[in-house]
Amino acid sequence: MLDIQNLSARIDDFEILKGVTLSIKPGEVHAVMGPNGSGKSTLAAVLAGREDYEVTSGTVRYLGRDLLEMEPDERAREGLFLAFQYPVELPGVSMSNFLKEAVNSVREHQGKEPLSAVELLKMMREKAALVDLNPDLKKRSVNEGFSGGEKKRNEIFQLAMLEPRLAILDETDSGLDIDALKIVAHGVNQLRGPERSFLVITHYQRLLNYIVPDVVHVLVDGRIAKTGDKDLALRLEEEGYDWLREETIAAPVG
Amino acid sequence: MKEQEPAEYTENDFLQEVASSEYEYGFVTEIASEKAPVGLDASTVRFISERKDEPEWMLEWRLRALQHWQGLHDRQAYPRWAHLKYPEIDFQAISYYAAPNSKPKYKSLDEVDPELLRTFERLGISLTEQKKLAGVAVDAVIDSVSVATTFKEELAEQGIIFCSFGEAIDNHPDLVQKYMGSVVPYTDNFYASLNSAVFSDGSFCYIPPGVRCPMELSTYFRINEAGTGQFERTLIVADKGSYVSYLEGCTAPQRDENQLHAAVVEIIALEGAEVKYSTIQNWYPGDAGGKGGIYNFVTKRGICAERNAKISWTQLETGSAITWKYPSVILKGDDSVGEFYSVAFTKGKQQADTGTKMVHLGRNTRSTIISKGISAGLSNNSYRGLVKINRKAEDARNFSQCDSLLLGDKCGAHTFPYIEINNPTAQVEHEATTSKVGEDQIFYCNQRGIGEAEAVKLIVNGFCKEILAELPMEFAVEAQKLLAIELEGSVG
């Protein structure tokens, strides 16, 4: 599904990723944890194709293709979805128009007929229920006037609508109280399947109680310092990140 | 104070007091002086140039400017677009040169008339060695002539040149010839042409590369003589990586006639240099009936000539019958920064049409404009500003905010911004509001035991706070006092 080899990237003059290697198979859920500034969100941004970041070395294969060669919208149409840490407000763009555009772009790419307005509305109602989002949201502008929790649930709602192959959740848990966190996790779990992979980026272990990962990676100073199973996340919760930092310094990866 | 107020003291009473407050610096100094004959032609210009022992090139420049001005004058090409009303000025009825005594240049303070030194003492500026303002170098200009410059030697140790314009012509002709007229050419506008022909003195300042000027540089202008105008010129050159903070203050005696002040200020900031120019303008504004006062027609402009330069204008405008000035920045160097912070307070029959021009030429240039206008009495107070983003100015940014406060229902507050965008990467935002002091704000203060007058003062001060905070420390307090005096309508 996704194969990242020795990926380095920078913004302006700051090297943020310093050789990340990571591979995700279909149906797997991988978590990337790490302290602030370790490069977690940069990894998400580079995978989604944000132009502010410059890839300085390494490769990313996605479904057998060179992901880095693809435009951001092409990545999305090929089934790569990013749930934003800070969802963008689009005043004047209604949710229904936005989703019609997005869903039908993806469908057209897959050689499917576009959804009619009625079909789309039906689908919206269905999927909105998944994350307990108010169904009258279709008239509202995208993310405008949404509470923090609503914005995050809206990201998972869009994930459900677009049915991606690989979903990257960039700190979807940040700023959520425990009830909202459960709703979001429930939505994500409903969407898990043998063909769909997840890359869950988070600072806290808490989310991983609800979205149980197959693999946990720890990102420190732009490198994967350690990879393990879900117990690794628990250890991080108890001991923090410092022990890993010492390890990386003592025995640098690569 | 409060007990003496009538029981029925209302906001209107207060505003009337504000509108009728008197001018503190309206005294005349009795000193011998020499004036040029009234009128303006080539002989006037020669008279001025001769009195000042100027080299030939200076005289020629003046004469070219005069010729240009005469052309403008014949075509009646005065600026008419400002929101100002005043009778036509008779330019042949003014004396274009007045010196405090027969000596056009002073070699030392000993030569200065003691009466004159006392004048500056009364203005709070001591020029004598013992009482010099700490941390501030002052060039004092009375009528047409610079009378003294303090701290010259201390500054010279670091290579800083700070002297009267006349001395600069004598001692640094290369710098003067290179930069004079480079930002405000004598063809720029009617009043700049006039100044170029007849300017008498002013200040010159050069900061060498990498030098951070250790003290505030200041010029103090005073018009003393009747029937004269004042036409000074200031030239500031900040070489690569240097920094200077400059302050200008001005007052004039109380006279029934209108006097003309047409100054030119030019600033050149080279790569990485920063110039902060602050003005406290307190020329005589005329009496409550609108009689007398200074006509203040001033051209101030700076250029960020190279990359990373910064020019910042801060002004507190409380004086003059008419103010016409637009301190501007040409942002030529990439990544350069222009700022304009202004408080303009008008009362009585004062009229102000003031603002700035930010002309973005270089890439990634940024400008900020914050203007606060306060109108009282029968005055009219206009903000007029231009933000221009040229075709080549990629990623330019501007933010402008113009707020007006009306104190009373017989004054006017106006906002005339011009925004010209020729590059799609520009981000330009302009906001303006006009309101009066809120009744709920006053009530809130009242409820906390603060009287009406005090409340208005507090609120107005709050309104201006972010601008006054831009003034150099030494003068911020001064400015606040001045504003308080203006508001209170009483001396001290």
Binding site: F98 | Y418, P424
Partner: protein
């Protein structure tokens, strides 16, 4: 301040051609029934010659070089031919679903066969037939500022084409669509003039559109006057979407107590377009709304000038203009809010936002506040910039192409101006037209 000058019409200045045409057609032009109009026309022509067409040094025309446009030797149409059009020739210019009256003016002349006027609608008479009607005579030329605006003076001198529309007291007159069709003419200078009189308690909505059929190089000088009685409501929309026409339009609305007026000005295509909208709420408790949308491409030049002249207390005005400029197009917004001494407790708001899309496009904005009363709340804002990069990325991350994302963002940008259009069928037509114009 302005000195009185009279242009030397012996020169080849364009004004001379108008003066000659006026002399030539004087008997013809004055063939109406009333002397008052003849006098108004003579005075207006004198005023026109005194002022002359504005040059770039004229502050009100600083950003629009109209004289250059007028150098072209237009034919000055006093009575242009009216080619016969069939209903199917114009059906595509009608607004689907719009109920009410439709008046079709072909080259300025009302064609009853193409028009349909609702029985319970307003009273509609071509202006030349209205001369002598006391209501018409009382109001015509009273609100348009012939003293100040040279184009209004020119229009008053020449105007023969257009409508006098009168809504009687208390009548809810519904919607009137005025469809102006120019056909079979080129390089012609046309002048149109409407007068709307909405009596107290009455209401009227007017949608004015322009269409060209086999017409090129046209110059339209249009003046609209409206007087709105107390408690009455008037909504006026002008839609310009005719690539072959340059225009100067003046819309002057006079409001009496507690009346409501809205003016929507939409410019989608054309050559050089200058729209002047002036609203004078002259009694207490009036409400005025001015909205504008302009989309410039190619070499278009679109200049919107507005004036809200608050002369009386307790009024509210709101102004919202948005523009999108592409290619080598130029946009101008000059909005003036004037609050006179007596207009206490005025609330006046103004906002102008523009997006510049190309290296060769320009936007000039001059939002002005001129305020002489102290108990007011007034503000204006103007922003110019490009599309929000974060928003574009968000849309692309959901699978939209760059072009599609751009179109969606631009549509969203103009959303609130379109939402302000109260006539739903018009809004729908404009939504489609705007989408087509903004798509890349």
């Amino acid at each position: 301040m302005t000195a009185v000058k009279t242009i030397d019409i012996g020169t080849d200045r364009p004004e001379a051609r108008f003066a000659a045409a006026f002399e030539r057609n004087r008997p013809h032009i004055l063939n109406g029934r009333g002397q008052p109009l003849a006098e108004k026309r003579n005075r207006a022509l004198d005023r026109f010659l005194e002022l002359g067409f504005p040059g770039p040094r004229d502050e009100h025309w600083k950003y629009t070089n109209i004289s250059k446009r007028l150098e072209r030797p237009f034919e000055i149409a006093i009575a242009p031919a009216v080619p016969e059009l069939r209903p199917q020739d114009i059906s595509r210019f009608l607004i689907e679903g719009l109920e009410g009256s439709v008046v079709v003016l072909v080259n300025g002349v009302m064609v009853p066969g193409l028009s349909s006027i609702a029985t319970d609608g307003p009273v509609i008479v071509p202006i030349m037939d209205a001369i002598g009607n006391p209501v018409f005579d009382r109001h015509f030329g009273r609100y348009a500022d012939a003293d100040d605006a040279v184009f209004t003076a020119l229009n008053t001198a020449f105007a023969r084409h257009g409508l006098f529309v009168h809504v009687n007291r208390g009548v809810k007159a519904g919607t009137l669509h005025i469809l102006n069709v120019t056909t079979g003419v080129r390089d012609t200078f046309l002048q149109a003039r409407h007068l709307f009189v909405v009596d107290p308690g009455a209401s009227l909505t007017v949608v004015e559109t322009h269409a060209g059929v086999d017409a090129e190089g046209m110059f339209l000088n249009a003046v609209v006057e409206a007087t709105i009685g107390s408690d009455a409501r008037f909504d006026y929309y002008r839609v310009q979407d005719d690539p072959g026409t340059s225009a100067v339009t003046g819309t002057y609305v006079y409001q009496e107590g507690a009346s409501y007026a809205s003016c929507g000005t939409v410019t989608l295509s054309g050559g050089t377009i200058r729209n002047n909208v002036a609203v004078l709420p002259d009694a207490q408790h009036c409400e005025s709304h001015l909205t504008g949308l302009f989309i410039g491409s190619g070499e278009m030049h679109i200049d919107n000038h507005t004036l809200v002249d608050h002369a009386q207390p307790d009024c509210f005005s709101n102004e919202l203009y948005k523009g999108v400029l592409d290619d080598s197009a130029t946009g101008v917004f000059n909005g003036r809010v004037l609050v006179r001494r007596d207009a206490q407790r005025t609330n006046a708001y103004q906002s102008n936002k523009s997006i510049v899309l190309s290296d060769k496009a320009s936007m000039n904005a001059k939002p002005e506040l001129e305020i002489y009363a102290d108990d007011v709340k007034c503000s204006h804002g103007a922003t110019t910039g490009r599309l929000d990069a974060e928003g574009l990325f968000y849309l692309r991350s959901r699978g939209l192409t760059t072009d599609r994302a751009r179109t969606i963002m631009l549509q969203a940008f103009v959303r609130d101006v379109l939402d302000a259009i109260a006539v739903e069928p018009l809004r729908e037509v404009l939504e489609r037209a705007v989408e087509n114009r903004l798509a890349k």
